[in-house]
């Protein structure tokens, strides 16, 4: 079930709603009190948010490479002795056929600075069969709040994609899907 960010100190509308609710029921009944102890166990977790799509473009008309940028947003909570990661894999090759091919190694990316964790090192070649690294998350860390956690929430990392522009490609519009997977230990 998707986690919709709802309970946040940055959401003043919710605070107002709670105050209104308190006022509504105070108008109806006598007030009684009872106590109960609440316990919660926080387990490691990681989640990611990706734009629905992006395009690669070229400059000029002399076969300069196609380029594009994708911003990945993520949240993590890792345990002591644990860690986490985000990786990506192409869901399919570019379609229709006749154009660029991911299977031939034409699509690569590099990672910019990461708001939490260590971004991938060097250019990575996108694969339809193997996952490649995006971000590695250390143990005992978390997103947001500062201190031992990242200063920003969510954390982000930008991926710069480069696609070979070969004269052998037929003209047309080609697309593929990139699947991002989160893992935690």
């Amino acid at each position: 079930m998707p986690e919709v960010i709802f309970f946040s100190r940055e959401n003043p509308a919710l605070v107002v709603a709670l105050l209104i609710l308190a006022t509504c029921f105070q108008a109806l009944a006598d007030i009684g009190t009872a106590t109960q102890t609440l316990n919660v166990v926080l387990i490691p977790a990681g989640k990611v948010s990706i734009p629905s799509g992006f395009s690669l473009t070229t400059t000029g008309t002399t076969f300069n490479a196609y380029r594009g940028t994708l911003r990945v947003s993520y949240r993590f909570r890792t345990a002591q002795g644990g860690g986490g990661s985000i990786s990506l894999r192409a869901g399919s090759d570019f379609l229709p056929s006749g154009g660029p091919s991911i299977a031939s190694g034409a699509l690569v990316y590099s990672c910019g600075p990461a708001g939490l964790g260590v971004p991938c090192a060097g250019p990575q070649t996108v694969s339809t069969t193997l996952s490649t690294a995006v971000v590695a998350i250390q143990e005992s860390t978390c997103t947001g709040g500062g201190g031992s956690c990242s200063a920003v929430d969510p954390a982000t990392v930008e991926l710069q994609f480069t696609l070979d522009n070969s004269p052998e490609y037929e003209t047309g519009i080609y697309s593929s899907s990139l699947v991002f997977t989160v893992s935690t230990l």
Partner: protein, 181 residues
């Protein structure tokens, strides 16, 4: 009392809807995105010989020489076309020797023939170089695509060897243009 309670609930409903709208980004254990690219017609040209020297034989035989080039091209599927042309953008200088635009003898000319590799089609027959209008070197049809590293072509020059030319070194500039749709 009841009216006050109904009013409270209405206000509560509005605030809860506003709270939900504040954060539209959805986080999940995995995510996917569509990556797309539009591949359009493109063309580029590389002249292998920055300088082509025309050499003449004895007894006023014509001067000849060859300019080699490599082209890359991708024309559109369906109705795309392409071309390579030549234009003398600077006539021979200094004065006193050959001239493309104003030769000392009518009939003196700088001409060429073309030789290109597929998918190009070479110009037909002998072409006369011009300083005013681009002349054909090669043409391309729809969905014409060169290899990744480009395909070869060359222009074979012939220049009239007129005895009226004063001795000396003369240079002209020829500009080749490639285009694709």
């Amino acid at each position: 009392m009841k009216q006050r309670f109904a009013t409270c609930l209405s206000a509560l409903t509005v605030m809860l809807m506003l709270a939900a709208a504040v954060h539209a980004q959805t986080f999940q254990p995995s995510g996917s995105t569509t990556i797309s690219v539009t591949v359009a017609a493109e063309a580029s040209l590389y002249i292998e010989d920055s300088t082509t020297t025309l050499s003449g034989g004895p007894l006023f035989s014509d001067y000849t020489g060859t300019t080699r080039f490599t082209y890359k091209i991708r024309t559109s599927q369906g109705s795309g076309t392409g071309s390579i042309t030549s234009l003398v953008t600077a006539d021979f200088s200094p004065a006193g020797g050959p001239s493309v635009s104003n030769p000392p003898t009518a009939g003196d000319a700088l001409t060429y023939t073309c030789s290109v590799s597929s998918p190009a089609t070479a110009c037909s027959g002998t072409q006369t170089a011009s300083t005013t209008a681009a002349q054909p070197v090669a043409s391309f049809g729809a969905n014409a695509r060169s290899s990744r590293n480009g395909n070869s072509g060359q222009v074979n020059w012939t220049l009239t060897n007129d005895p009226l030319y004063a001795t000396g070194s003369y240079s002209a500039t020829v500009t080749f243009t490639v285009s694709a749709t």
